[in-house]
Subunit: 309 residues, 2 copies
């Protein structure tokens, strides 16, 4: 098997906003630094969890530049660069590649539904050919519950055979383990990431390379421990723990719940801000979330000690 | 009932592309002129049928400017200006209002699914407040089969009561007549347009103001005749005819089918070009479409005579 471009635990970093809904650049950089300190293997910035599609292209590009200027290596970055329009996707992708980002996580065009594999293939092809760089490494972003436009097994195969050095991996956020299994089985050299840490151990055992997961924003070190120890006796126990945390958080609307937890941890209330059409957690919900996490003995503070133990 | 801002038959004009997928500005202007000559009451440019979400913001703004510079009155234009990101929607909307467009057809932010009415209300509010112009007249674009994010009756009510001079109408592309009926019943002074001419006569009888319909691109005059004669004895017969044409065309993938028909009518083969992720009609499909239309005695050429008859 060839050397992997990315593997381990990547985090679709949350995007913090000021009260006026503008991006809070310094909190973004601070959060990204913290994730890396907590051993995240990379940052899949501008994913679904990052509210990327609620940002303008200019905001995304400015935030990416700020991150790299702050000293975070572009080699750790896999920005989301898929868009409804090929032109937008080319612009974002070219920008990311020019900055040296080691990968791009690419949504299919997601406005039109029920489109054919031929059409999606042509859309990805256009982007690849217009960017025209050996430095481009694409991770396909399969997230049918949100995008409503799936990336089929057959489409993956066509893209790999046409662009073997460019289309190198996939994030499977279908929540359908049988699909993740099928991708890994069909394309064993492909870098397949689970879209949730719930499937991390299973993914690694099957031959996948890791996970790119929303809850990585609050539990990066815990999830990383499963990756480090997946062949050890403790793997099942460690997996059970991160699954427990994930399942507790995902009882709530994920993005505002994660932002609430970071606000609580950092002491910065502004972190609770989300951009419409998302809404913040209601007060009773955010209180219940804290109670639920306490019940399972999880807190961002305690977690750090847990990592050391 | 107050004077209507828009009424009648509006056409979401198709966007022609050159072979390299760039927008063909002159064919666009020519098509829009033809639609107006054929008695369309207005042009809902940059709608779903226009492949608007496959265009960049810059392309949309340039095409709109070109249209107005060519001499088409901005008073006839209702460009689509909704987007996933509030910032993009503000930019498009401000541009359209500054150019004097008499309305904007606004999609809700459509990436996140299952969002609340509170979140959608906040998104529309942000756009309205940032544009901050009395000249802004919004037509909400309810198209759940594609956007997958509906605009509920309650949300319409909240927007109308907060912004009575700005949120003035809706295009209902749900395909669900009971929803159109409910909107008209609840908000009788609202300018409700059916999203398909199949519902035109029913919409007008119920108190709606017209339709904004994809097939207006090929049958504007026929559809306009129903609008002109909806209270006459011939209304049902005229409605039957436009329904027959619509149902024949919608057996095919709508956008490439319409583009094929315009290519055939104009003799410009380039008209068949669609942007990925859409794909053109297969040759057997486009042949069958022509056969089907011949069977019901419809052609763009013959239609002109039919109008005169």
């Amino acid at each position: 098997m060839s050397q992997k471009n990315f593997s381990g635990v990547l985090v679709p970093a949350l995007t913090p906003f000021n009260a006026d809904l503008s991006p809070d650049k310094s909190s973004f950089i601070e959060h990204c630094r913290w994730l890396l300190k907590e051993k995240a293997d990379g940052l899949a910035v501008f994913g679904t969890t990052s509210e990327a599609n609620s940002l303008t292209l200019e905001e995304r590009m400015e935030l990416l530049e700020a991150l790299i200027e702050s000293g975070i290596s572009a080699k750790l970055l896999m920005p989301g660069t898929g868009a409804c329009s090929i032109g937008d996707s080319i612009r974002l992708t070219k920008h990311a590649v020019d900055l040296g980002c080691k990968g791009c996580l690419m949504l299919p065009p997601f406005y039109y539904k029920g489109v054919s594999d031929d059409g999606l293939y042509a859309a990805f092809s256009e982007v690849i050919q217009h960017v025209g760089s050996d430095g481009l490494k694409i991770y396909l972003y399969h997230i049918p519950p949100v995008a409503q436009v799936p990336i089929s097994l057959e489409l993956i195969g066509r893209l790999i055979s046409q662009y073997p050095n460019t289309v190198v991996g996939l994030k499977d956020s279908s929540g359908d383990w049988s699909n993740t299994q099928a991708v890994i089985r069909e394309y064993p050299d492909f870098e397949t990431f689970a879209g949730s840490e719930v499937f991390l151990l299973d993914t690694l055992k099957a031959g996948g390379v890791g996970c790119i997961t929303a809850t990585g924003n609050i539990n990066p070190a815990g999830i990383r421990r499963v990756f480090e120890n997946w062949q050890s006796d403790r793997a099942d126990e460690l997996q059970r723990r991160i699954t427990e945390v994930r399942k507790t958080v995902q009882n709530y609307t994920m993005i505002p719940a994660l932002k609430h937890l970071i606000a609580d941890y950092s002491g910065k209330f502004e972190w609770t801000t989300v951009r419409p059409p998302l809404t913040g957690l209601a007060e009773d919900q955010s209180k219940q979330l804290m109670v639920d996490l306490k019940t399972i003995n999880f807190s961002l503070q305690a977690r750090e000690e847990e990592v050391i133990a």
